[in-house]
């Protein structure tokens, strides 16, 4: 994918937020995901649609795109198999993060989440009393020794061959053992009906997007597995305006920056910037690498040194 196309589609992805929410609101058989991938056409050509509850609506044609046509069985199977030959990793450059939180909102839009539900959370961190505070985006680490999949009693959360840890919400029994087991607090629970449950009711469950969300089950970051299947970068990676995220295939030793589209050698990026993983002493073997906040692009502007925030 050339740089130009990635910039354009990313820009339109962000632009189309306002329109998409409205459009998805009335059309029940097409999801927010598809609508957000609108091509760079001029709005104008509309189409008449009959919604599930008998309303006739006019929808902009390029807002429509059914995201999943496959039956549930096929989605489940390929979701469990993963993408052969890949080994996905993410690199987060802490020197570039200024808490813009575009990653968080893109993710929440992608996965039918409320504003207080986080698959990725940008935290204010201060490692110890005399070290400098910084912002740290924290997605699921997709560990290679995952404490969460170990404890699941029903195989509802599992690791697949490309390294991604998914959750099967057709099987999850809501015991929340995995939430207790995760040391990164990466998982959330649907304590009540998910956001916009009515609108998503008739969609086929797509395990790679975990949409529609289900009450009484667990949810978390999936490295946007549904987008990866289409060779697209995860939502958070694409949405960041500051160049914080790199994502790629460790087998190829290359990661691509979500903001600039630049692809670099993964090993070189880690070596030159002293990349590390979070809480490595716990032995979870995360797949998310952090580049320490040296040579910062932005001054830290959080409400630091607020004791409460740090525990």
């Amino acid at each position: 994918m050339t740089q130009k196309t990635s910039d354009k589609s990313r820009r339109n992805f962000l632009k189309s937020f306002g329109v998409t929410v409205g459009a998805a609101g009335v059309v029940s058989s097409f999801s927010l995901l598809g609508a957000a991938k609108a091509a760079a056409k001029e709005p104008g050509e509309t189409v008449n649609l009959l919604t599930a509850d008998g309303q006739l609506v006019q929808v902009d044609k390029n807002q429509l795109r059914p995201t999943v046509n496959e039956p549930l069985d096929e989605l489940q199977q390929r979701g469990r198999e993963g993408i052969a030959g890949k080994s996905f990793v993410m690199v987060i450059d802490l020197s570039k993060c200024r808490n813009a939180r575009k990653c968080m909102s893109a993710c929440q839009n992608h996965h039918q989440l409320r504003a207080d539900q986080h698959h990725i959370n940008v935290l204010q961190m201060q490692d110890s009393d005399h070290t400098a505070p910084y912002f740290m985006p924290k997605p699921c680490q997709h560990c290679d020794n995952p404490p969460c999949t170990k404890v699941c009693p029903v195989d509802a959360t599992f690791k697949r061959q490309d390294g991604i840890v998914l959750i099967d919400n057709e099987r999850c029994i809501g015991c929340r053992f995995c939430i207790a087991a995760c040391p990164y607090s990466a998982r959330i629970f649907q304590w009540t009906e998910p956001k916009d449950a009515e609108k998503y009711k008739d969609l086929t469950y797509n395990i790679e997007a975990n949409v529609p969300q289900k009450k009484g089950t667990v949810s978390k970051c999936l490295f946007s597995a549904d987008r990866l299947r289409e060779d697209k970068l995860p939502s958070c990676v694409s949405a960041c305006p500051n160049g914080v995220y790199y994502f790629g295939d460790r087998n190829e030793d290359a990661v691509t920056n979500g903001t600039s589209g630049e692809t670099v050698r993964f090993s070189k990026l880690i070596e030159e910037n002293a990349g590390y993983t979070l809480m490595e002493e716990l032995g979870t073997k995360p797949r998310v690498y952090y580049l320490p906040p040296k040579n910062r692009a932005f001054e830290f502007n959080g409400d630091l040194l607020n004791e409460e925030n740090l525990h």
């Binding site: 962000l14 030959g85 195989d155 061959q161 790629g248 290359a254 630049e262 910062r296």
Partner: protein
């Protein structure tokens, strides 16, 4: 009344704007303004600056003069506009270095040379400075049918590219001083393996060392694309090739081994054995006892 609300609105916006600004003032001192670009406004520098710009600035500012910047608040300036370029080189340099609010500080993230290269690139859009562009002593002849020929030295993993064009007199000539990009296809983008100084020589040739440790697929194959970096001059000229000189990889499937974190089918044997044998052991005793209990009634007649 309307004026009052306009004034109030403006004041609110100004305060909001000020709040979103960083501690540093966007004001540039007179000394900083006077700084000159130590690098000449050559095509090469402009081209280098373009690369730096596209990696670091384009994501927010868009393309210069195209007004396709991100709809942020405050909106990033069109850096190719005359409004912007009316500032001196030193002024632009200071702002890039220091940043403000959503604009990052590039003091540490870009070295001085890169910053000046970007400024050179931006200056190339300045209508008042068009003539200042230094042209090289050597100018390439006017050509059509520009193409890139690739020869691969498999043994030493060197890529030999030859950029030529068809002159008016029907002869092919090499094009000098043109930057080429050697791109290897990766999962989400193109990895540039050309290195720093990837310019064609006098004969239009360029040799690039292919990285000896770059992984390919199982057979060590990669998709290579060679193109002229700057599409402005000759358009999109590229040559694609499947190379076999990368390192063959055999991706390890983490699910191949039994693990405690694995699925039920992938559980370590000792756990399956312990659980099954434990359950069978204990429950067979339970059933045995139950069976014995029913024997009790048979014993009653022997009273």
């Amino acid at each position: 009344m309307k004026n009052l609300s306009t004034i109030l609105a403006t004041l609110v916006l100004v305060f909001a704007f000020m709040n979103s600004a960083s501690a540093e003032d966007w004001k540039v001192s007179a000394t900083a303004k006077k700084k000159l670009n130590p690098y000449e406004l050559s095509k090469k520098n402009i081209s280098t600056g373009k690369k730096v710009y596209q990696t670091n600035c384009k994501s927010c500012h868009g393309d210069p003069t195209k007004a396709n910047m991100l709809p942020l608040v405050p909106v990033p300036t069109d850096l190719g506009s005359q409004n912007f370029l009316v500032q001196s080189d030193g002024e632009i340099y200071h702002k890039v270095k220091v940043g403000k609010g959503a604009m990052p500080t590039f003091e540490k993230t870009l070295n001085d040379e890169s910053k000046w290269m970007v400024i050179a690139y931006l200056r190339s859009f300045d209508k008042n400075k068009k003539k200042a562009v230094v042209t090289k002593a050597v100018v390439n002849p006017e050509v059509t049918d520009v193409k890139i020929e690739l020869n691969v030295d498999t043994e030493h993993k060197k890529l030999n590219a030859h950029l030529t064009g068809l002159k008016k007199n029907g002869k092919r000539a090499g094009l000098e001083g043109v930057e080429l990009s050697f791109l290897v296809k990766r999962a989400f983008g193109q990895l540039d393996v050309s290195g720093e100084e990837a310019y064609t020589d006098a004969k239009g040739e360029l040799v690039v060392q292919f990285p000896t440790d770059l992984p390919g697929d199982r057979e060590g194959q990669v998709d290579l694309t060679i193109k002229i970096t700057d599409e402005d001059e000759y358009g999109l000229i590229e040559e694609k090739r499947v190379l076999s000189i990368a390192v063959p990889t055999n991706p390890k499937n983490p699910l191949d081994e039994r693990a405690m974190w694995g699925t039920r089918a992938n559980a370590p044997i000792w756990i399956i054995a312990s659980y099954v044998l434990g359950v069978i052991g204990i429950w067979s005793v339970i059933f045995l006892v139950l069976f014995q209990v029913f024997q009790l009634s048979k014993m009653r007649t022997k009273s």
